[in-house]
């Protein structure tokens, strides 16, 4: 990729960016016409689809000793059963960063050996002409195993060597601190549970493979399937226009996609494979469970002197997934800090990113521990945080690009009515309910990655902008159209942003809250370039009213190119193109993050929660939540609100409901369905509100954004946990907080 010069600050008026707009694909979505991966079929020209269903291992670790497929193959309408005993050996070329986001290790391969690495690992795929037949035949496949006891205990299993971060002398500072606290927090494993199950339709045309795949990154199935099958990346095309939620679970291409593509190749027919809800718990990654030891040392006035984090987090035996657990290093002015992170390899599928990856985990430990310190010292939790507010990033020494966390606090205190909180726990009672308020802070890196876009202005004055990004829900298609519209001086309705096709100009994985910073900046640069092209054409055209006007003096509003000083002197894009006999004008542009990072750049959150805890029955209900966010420029407040609500409701689940339960005997997941793995329902979400602190961050991205999608969940769980403490006086350090932890004596 060629580095692009950073675009000029836009001189175009901001007409749509910053305004609340309804999502442009809303009509498609409310009418059921938005087509998600599994919806593809004859209407997309994919005829003769057959159905694949995976057979899952029923042991936690060991070897397959036999697979009897006779009954399955004898069943009506069954076409084939593929397993390690009959599958072709696949090339499985290396496919590592930056072509993929695979963690270090050896990725799981589809039917290439007899090893069972975790319960529920696919051991065979059955294909039949109907879904009913395929599902039935999958149950008829009889696999036998030589089982070994799996290693599943995060606390006792041997860990990899720790990843150590240290500054100052934390041990000594801790020992001499006037106030010392020591706690251990445990966070349960969480599954994303996006409403859309993973699904793929795979079709081979000769040596070329096309997949309609649920993915947050259309480049990833392309790169991974090309590597697995030993073909050129250009021989694989991935479509993914609509993604039914992902929250991190579709950043990498999981083994079922290979199984589907393999079946399609063997059968020479298009194959559709949709994971069952149950299979999503086994075959897809998850937010790993953590044990988080925290030791704090502080002065009596609450100023932190030493923080020590001892962390154990789960990964698989064959890959090292590590979350970014850096929040503790930068959030507070802590001179002495040490963090040891130990990955514990277990016989599980490899974990993956889940909303606010790492940062929301650390926030639970760090922000609950701060609340404990505030209570210990009798200092208001917000005052404690303000006393520890750093001037510069304590980890890097760099200045913050923007850090409006203090404003988040003050705004939140005012809007939430923080003054009504009793500093004494268990002081507010309404009937059977104990009422409490809590808060927590959070941050998430404001990062960006290279991205490119293509823009084409048609003779009718409409523009199509394309980039191989994804939209799993935040409204990328809408917000990019806003950016493009402003850069081109067009009304939003005449700009269309297209994504979700691997042949489009490359974009980074739609994750890490960096799509707007990366793709948005690329879209702006591209559209700026296209506008300048049009302006250059106009000012150089002696038939144009703008002939001779300096290009820098031409702006475009609502499709009218005109001289800044004389809005009547101008013409439309249509007139310009028609007169010049052009069918279109186009531009390719991109964004490259600066090579040298001179600032410490983060988005920030301050989350406030009010809970009611039944004093006798221990049930917790969140009455209201407020999130105050410093995320830089907000491109579309309407969509931003939806994202913020979603992050806070996700955090509610993390705090009170969500916990993937495995059987320690064999790794069987015991709540692998939506009736037993509890996610929040409508009734759990009473009063949720988000506020954004105004201000752009032009260091973080040319378009001034810092990213919103992740930080909205960072700090939510500890805010709720702290509110539970304020309500009850009971400190629960294990998430989720369930009634049994709160059955307090009278």
């Amino acid at each position: 990729m060629t580095p692009q010069p950073a675009p000029q600050p836009a001189r175009q008026p901001q007409a749509t960016v910053g305004t609340p707009r309804s999502r442009v694909d809303g009509r498609l979505k409310v009418t059921g016409q938005a087509r998600f991966a599994a919806d593809h079929g004859p209407a997309d020209g994919i005829d003769g689809i057959v159905h694949a269903v995976l057979v899952d291992a029923t042991i936690g670790r060991g070897r397959i000793t036999g697979i009897d497929t006779r009954a399955a193959l004898a069943a009506p309408d069954v076409l084939t059963v593929i397993h390690h005993g009959n599958a072709p050996r696949l090339p499985y070329r290396d496919n590592s960063f930056p072509d993929s986001i695979h963690p270090p290790g050896e990725r799981l391969r589809a039917f290439q050996d007899d090893h069972v690495r975790f319960f529920g690992q696919p051991v065979a795929v059955v294909v039949a002409t109907t879904l009913e037949a395929a599902r039935h035949a999958a149950r008829l496949v009889e696999a036998t195993y030589d089982a070994e006891p799996p290693q599943l205990d995060l606390v006792t299993a041997p860990a990899h060597e720790p990843d150590v971060y240290t500054r100052g002398d934390a041990a000594a500072a801790l020992a001499s601190a006037p106030v010392q606290l020591e706690m251990t927090y445990r966070m349960g494993r969480n599954h994303h549970n996006a409403m859309e199950p993973h699904a793929i339709v795979a079709r081979w045309d000769g040596d070329r493979l096309t997949v309609w795949e649920k993915t947050q990154w259309v480049a990833d199935p392309r790169n991974e399937l090309a590597a697995v099958f030993g073909i050129a990346q250009a021989a694989v095309r991935c479509y993914s226009r609509f993604v039914g939620g992902a929250f991190g679970n579709s950043g990498r291409t999981w083994v079922h996609s290979v199984a589907a593509a393999l079946a399609a190749r063997e059968l020479r027919r298009p194959v559709k494979l949709v994971l069952s809800r149950r299979q999503l718990y086994f075959g897809i990654g998850f937010r790993p469970a953590y044990e988080y030891g925290v030791r704090l040392g502080s002065e009596r006035d609450g100023r932190l002197t030493a923080v020590v984090h001892d962390v154990r987090g789960e990964t698989s035996r064959y890959e090292r997934h590590s979350d970014d657990l850096a929040l503790g290093r930068m959030l507070y002015d802590t001179p002495h800090f040490r963090q040891d992170v130990r990955l514990v390899p277990l016989d599980v599928n490899t974990p993956t990113w889940m909303r606010g990856p790492g940062w929301s985990t650390t926030a639970t430990a760090l922000e609950t521990s701060l609340d404990e310190l505030a209570h210990e010292l009798g200092i208001d939790p917000i005052e404690l945080r303000i006393r520890n507010e750093p001037a510069d990033d304590p980890a890097t020494g760099q200045p913050f690009s923007t850090r409006r966390l203090h404003e988040c606090y003050t705004t939140g205190m005012r809007e939430f009515g923080w003054h009504r909180r009793s500093s004494r726990p268990r002081a507010v009672r309404e009937g059977d309910w104990l009422i409490g308020m809590g808060m927590a802070a959070g941050a998430y890196p404001a990062e960006s990655a290279p991205a490119q876009a293509h823009a084409r202005l048609g003779a009718d004055g409409t523009v199509v902008v394309r980039s191989a990004s994804s939209d799993m829900g935040p409204g990328t298609t809408t917000s990019m159209a806003q950016v493009a519209a402003d850069a081109l001086g067009l009304p939003m309705w005449s700009v269309q942003f297209q994504l979700g096709d691997s042949t489009m100009p490359p974009a980074p994985v739609h994750a890490l809250a960096w799509t707007m910073a990366s793709v948005g900046s690329a879209v702006q640069a591209t559209c700026d370039r296209l506008r300048r092209k049009a302006v250059a054409l106009a000012v150089g055209d002696d038939r144009s009213p703008l002939h001779g006007v300096p290009a820098d003096e031409v702006v475009v509003r609502r499709g009218w190119l005109h001289a800044r000083a004389d809005p009547r002197r101008g013409e439309t894009y249509q007139q310009l193109l028609a007169r010049n006999g052009r069918t279109h004008l186009e531009a390719v542009g991109g964004y490259e993050p600066p090579e040298e990072i001179r600032y410490s750049m983060y988005a920030y959150s301050a989350i406030f929660a009010e809970v009611a805890v039944d004093a006798r029955l221990g049930i917790v209900r969140v009455r209201r939540m407020l999130g105050v966010f410093d995320a830089g420029r907000i491109v579309n407040p309407k969509l931003a609100d939806s994202q913020a609500h979603g992050g806070m409701i996700g955090g509610l689940g993390q705090a009170l409901l969500e916990h993937t339960v495995t059987d320690p005997r064999d790794g069987r997941i015991l709540n692998a369905n939506l009736a037993d793995y509890l996610v929040p329902t409508n009734a759990d979400a009473a009063d949720i509100r988000a506020i954004y602190i105004e201000g752009v961050d032009n260091e973080a991205a040319p378009i001034g954004v810092k990213g919103l999608g992740e930080v909205v969940q960072v700090g939510v769980a500890p805010a709720i946990a702290n509110a539970v403490f304020n309500a009850t006086g009971r400190r629960v350090r294990d998430l989720p907080i369930t009634p049994e932890a709160l059955l307090m004596p009278r």
Binding site: L617, L656, V661, L670, P739
Partner: protein, 326 residues
């Protein structure tokens, strides 16, 4: 899902004949279809009974309530007679499942629900309900949601119904019809604890069909209600639940009907609580004393020990809500 034949019974007689030949009845299907998809259930013949004329809801002459087995949960919950005479029935129904499922599921099917246990639902795990003699995976496994009452070494799964808790508290009668004709049996005898035969969940003979559930007349005025405790606010099975009905006259409790859900392998009648209440005057102390008896005989497992105390508290709370302070 295994293949099966499908027929519709056009009369009760036809249904029974088909049932006697081994046909499996399907009404709302919300449990059965789900379990067939998991291959926990593998009927080879389904007999659709939902069109049979067994969905009337009516007051009985002496003030009881008769609910046709094929009445939908939503319709029963909305029925004015039900809401007026036995509001606890409507409460239990509206605290069950979701609006969609209540539009599908029938009363008879609700009582017939299979146990809610991860190991039962997972055909790759040993389970005595599915395969007698294969062992109970929950005993030594994860059993937070499991039963503390009515368990045996063969099974510890809870009965998932909310409605059946109310019916058990109110000592409802199950009306059945089968090849041998009609019979009626108390719900307390109809639903069977696992004992040594965990695969036998009901006292149901081949070809038998539930016709109706009948709540006997209870003395009036009657205060009653259903309380359900769960992790999330909606759309979840009970951790604990309690149905209570009290007839208080002259300041004294003359009749007390109490049963609990979420804690038993069947809806769990609490006679010790009832006996402690009868003849006494309502008071907060009385509620607490009676509730102390709620978990008598409880045998907690590794992860569900909290249910013992939670059950007592749920009973106490519901006695207070229904009985008030006076």
């Amino acid at each position: 899902m295994f293949p099966f034949t499908y027929t519709r019974a056009t009369s009760v007689h036809e249904a029974i004949e088909a049932g006697e030949r081994g046909g499996r009845y399907i009404a709302g299907g919300t449990t059965l279809v789900d379990l067939m998809r998991e291959t926990v259930e593998r009927p080879s013949a389904l007999v659709d009974i939902v069109g049979l004329p067994l969905s009337d809801v009516s007051a009985t002459p002496r003030g009881g309530l008769r609910i046709g087995a094929l009445a939908r949960m939503a319709d029963v919950a909305a029925d004015p007679v039900v809401r007026q005479t036995y509001p606890a029935v409507a409460q239990a129904l509206e605290l069950s499942a979701s609006a969609q499922l209540r539009n599908m599921a029938t009363i008879g099917g609700n009582v017939m629900q299979r146990p809610r246990c991860a190991y039962f639902r997972d055909v790759s795990a040993p389970c005595n309900r599915r395969e007698p003699g294969s062992g109970c995976s929950a005993l030594e496994g994860y059993n937070r949601t499991h039963a503390i009452l009515g368990t045996s070494e063969h099974c510890v799964a809870t009965h998932p119904s909310d409605l059946a808790v109310v019916l058990t508290a109110f000592e409802a009668t199950v009306h059945l019809v089968g090849p041998e004709g009609r019979r009626a049996t108390p719900i307390g005898h109809f639903l069977l604890p696992p004992g040594d035969t965990p695969d036998q969940e009901q006292d149901l003979r081949p070809g038998e069909l539930i016709v109706a559930l009948e709540i006997p007349p209870l003395p009036r005025p009657l205060r009653s209600g259903y309380l359900k405790v769960r992790d999330r606010e909606s759309y979840e099975f009970a951790l604990t639940s309690v149905a209570v009905a009290l007839h208080i006259r002259g300041g004294v409790i003359h009749t007390a009907k109490v049963a609990a859900g979420g804690v038993g392998t069947i809806p769990w009648k609490l006679p010790a609580v009832e006996q402690h209440l009868v003849g006494r005057r309502p008071s907060p102390d009385l509620w607490g004393q009676a509730a102390e008896r709620a978990a008598d005989g409880a045998r907690p497992l590794v992860h569900n020990g909290f249910k013992t105390e939670l059950l007592r508290r749920t009973v106490e709370r519901q006695l207070r809500i229904v009985g008030g302070r006076s």
